[in-house]
Amino acid sequence: MKTPFGAIPAADISADQAIPPAEIALAPTTLEQASQALRIATERRMKVLVWGGGNHQGYGHRVHPDMVLITTSLDRIEVWEPEDLTIVAEAGARISQVEEMLAGKRQTTVLPHHSPTATIGGALAAGLSSYKRFRYGPTRDRVLETKVVTGDGRIVRSGGRVVKNVTGYDIPRLMVGALGRMGLIGSVCLKLLPTPAAAVTVSVEDPADALAALYRPLAVLSTPSGHSAFLWGTQAEVESQAARLGGEMLNGHAWPTVPSRLVGWSLRLPPSRLSEGLERLPEGWDYVAQQGVGIAECAADQVEIGAARELRGWAESVGGALVLTDGPETLYERIDPWGRAPAGLEYQRKLVAGFDPFGVLNGGRLPGGV
């Protein structure tokens, strides 16, 4: 196959991380190159898998690609305007590196970066938010502008580089959690937040009491070993808030490690049902639960399909979901990673068809095989 720019030999791909076997892997360095690659894929009806840091590939139905598009060479920081609290970066940029840079001026994207290789594009495509979500809301609320390459190779910019904008349809928001079905995320403008001066972690007995006692803490997290409240703000503020809790106080944020085992699940519930959800977790599952938000990221050593189905059935009955986020390939054949498909599936299909008419880009990955 004649390619417009450097292809990566198959042997090198398999050696690197867990990129699945494909006819060809390409690492575009510009959006124009990504566009060329996707035009070729569309012409030839090739199945394309987009690959960033490889951290969130467990989300959604599996793709068996003919072409892998690696985004990590799209990693430029285009503009950082500290006084506007905005940054424009290419999607292959590593969150950890961006955060390191922003820390110099005490600013943050608030994106999750538990893995040093996690990219901005990966976190956005998977729709992930950090543990600071209780205070700052989901990642989706901070994506101001996107430049994407559609399945048929069009480069489409939407949104704007200002913090408040209702100019046209909010396509940037739609890109978050779309797992690449609406286009390969090329570059994004993100709203930044200032990082306050003081940070503390306080152990708490009862997470509900902690939430009631505090005014909009950063997070209250539960793990099998206990509950902690995470605070930040001015020194006087965090001290007075911590005093309301009375528990043991640590300076800084002692974030729990994200559980990682053979199988990963994300339990998503109306916040008031979270405690009940945790009681219903099968024996031995590890978890980090975000109180007040309603998410528990879970990990299990075993494939327990029966137990997962039972938990999912209950979660869906109270308006939530149990989403498979990681696991052996065969598990995805035995259980739908998403569970019940959402309403409006025909509109999701039509939206995707407008951006990827031949279904080449991460095809079938979303609920309902969209």
Binding site: E81, P82, E83, L85, G127, R133, D141, T150, R154, V156, S158, G160, V162, V163, K164, N165, V166, T167, G168, Y169, D170, I171, L174, G177, A178, R181, M182, L193, P194, P196, A197, Y215, R216, G233, T234, A236, E237, S240, L269, P270, P271, S272, G294, G320, A321, V323, A341, P342, A343, G344, Y347, Q348, K350, L351, V352, G354, F355, L366, P367, V370
Partner: protein, 481 residues
């Protein structure tokens, strides 16, 4: 003007009367005239106006309108300013103000299911006993509806810290183009699949009709400090805004008004505004007492280092309310200056505020239009208000030309067309300033995914010719391209 009084469709009207009863179907010349415009300067031509009360009625109206080949334009209180609810090409104006039930307040999950006709401020009042409020607070909040807020993704002073309406909508019940009803979004976080909720909010009624919404409620802050800081110049006030953001503070609100606006407000409200000053900055910080005290002190310090003339902190809830009343009633006060006004809405990066303001006044001088300004300085959202007399021949066209120039100058500075009013009819012709043909075509594909036949609010948001068949669209057989 005669055109606005013709165009009745008696067959459609009779079908709608069978559905809703005669009392809720209006098509007299006067009624159609009354519903022909919103609070802006554009006028349309309603075929018939219906007041719906239930989701099922909305669905039936959509099906009926479709059968007659007539579009549907949803309308709340009609406080919009970009002609989003104006039935430009005729159609059924579907008024949601009777769907004003706050169905259930879930204090535990901080949510409520509400009808689209609920008035913004009523929602916050109803949730006060639970210690919560609905964060979006446009100046029209005592009149505008939640449905309208959803359509325009409305903001308000406090969206500086809390974000616009979309951040506060968890799920929507929507009547689709086929007249079916779907619920998108969820009370649980991160519902699976594409975020249809997020694309419908802010879509100005072009993708479907919202018949219920699950709103997120925000806890009321334990403490608050509201400060009015006077400056000799806009420049000093803007430098203070930059200084506050650079210091790592994001206040709950950061509003600015210029001298003309202050004088107009003071003339009728007598709020004690410093009318001799060149600019007033209204800053509010919320949170626990220790935080608001520290932050208010920091803001006062930054203001003083930028030559503040005076720093006044509201000493009581009544004083705070008066300050906010002066801010939110500004547009009513303009009536003294001229019989009509055109309220604009554009955004610049907040670092470009000073130069943008200078050019706003220049444009005013050139067109000899009085420019009064009260705006969301913290997020760079300008609201130049042009006072004029529409009875002067040609004056409205001059005002519209000045309005276009205002947008152009903001886009040149890296800004956008609208921060919170929407595009509607008002700014669609300016969309190419910001977007390429390919970008606009992608937006048209979003519209077509939900409403290929143009049932909902046709002609809004996107300029004519946005669909471009050069970009690999499947061309329908026999179509003229």
């Amino acid at each position: 003007m005669a055109a606005t009084l013709t165009g009745r469709n008696t067959k459609l009207r009779d079908d709608l009367i069978r559905l809703l009863g005669a009392e809720r179907v209006m098509d007299s010349a006067l009624e159609r005239h009354l519903y022909a415009k919103d609070a802006g300067v554009y006028r349309g031509n309603p075929t018939v106006v219906v007041m719906i009360e239930t989701t099922e009625e909305a669905a039936q109206v959509v099906r009926t309108a479709r059968r007659h080949g007539v579009p549907v334009v949803a309308r709340g209180a009609g406080t919009g300013l970009s002609a989003g609810a104006v039935p430009e090409v005729g159609g059924v104006v579907l008024v949601t103000t009777r769907m004003n039930r706050i169905e259930e307040i879930d204090a535990e999950n901080h949510t409520a299911w509400v009808g689209p006709g609920v008035i913004n401020l009523d929602l916050s009042r109803a949730t006060t006993p639970f210690g919560m409020h609905f964060a979006p607070d446009p100046s029209s909040q005592s009149a505008c509806t939640v449905g309208g807020n959803i359509a325009c993704n409305s903001g308000g002073p406090h969206c500086l810290s809390e974000g616009s309406t979309v951040n506060h909508i968890l799920a929507l019940e929507v009547v689709t183009d086929t007249g079916d009803v779907m619920i998108v979004g969820s009370g649980a976080p991160d519902p699976v699949g594409l975020d249809l909720r997020g694309i419908i909010v802010g879509s100005e009624g072009t993708l479907g009709i919202v018949t219920r919404a699950l709103v997120k409620l925000t806890p009321n802050p334990p403490d608050v400090r509201t400060m009015a800081v006077a400056f000799a110049t806009i420049e000093d006030a803007a430098a203070t805004v930059s200084g506050i953001i650079a210091a790592g503070l994001i206040p709950a609100a950061l509003e600015m008004m210029d001298q003309l606006m202050m004088q107009a407000i003071e003339n009728w409200l007598h709020a004690g505004l410093p009318v001799e000053a060149g600019a007033l900055l209204l800053a509010e910080v919320t949170g626990v007492t220790e935080a608001v005290e520290a932050e208010a002190e920091m803001i006062a310090g930054i203001a003083q280092s930028n030559k503040a003339l005076s720093v006044q902190v509201a000493a009581s809830p009544a004083e705070r309310e008066l300050l906010w009343k002066s801010r939110k009633s500004a547009f009513g006060a303009v009536a003294q200056a001229a019989p009509d006004y055109y309220l604009h809405d554009t955004v610049v990066p907040r670092t470009r505020l000073v130069e943008a303001m200078r050019q706003v006044y220049e444009i005013g001088q050139r067109y000899q239009i009085t420019m009064m300004n009260v705006f969301h300085a913290g997020d760079g959202n300008l609201h130049p208000l042009m006072a004029f007399d529409a009875s002067e021949p040609g004056r409205l066209d001059e005002v519209k030309a000045a309005a276009d120039e205002l947008v152009e100058l903001c886009v040149e500075k890296g800004g956008v067309l609208s921060g919170e009013h929407g595009i509607g009819m008002e700014k669609r012709h300016l969309m190419p300033l910001l977007f390429t043909e390919m970008d606009l075509d992608a937006q048209a594909r979003v519209k077509d995914a939900f409403d290929a036949e143009g049932v909902f609010n046709p002609g809004k948001v996107l300029p004519e010719g946005s669909r471009c068949f050069d970009f690999g669209r499947p061309v329908p057989e026999g179509a003229w391209v």
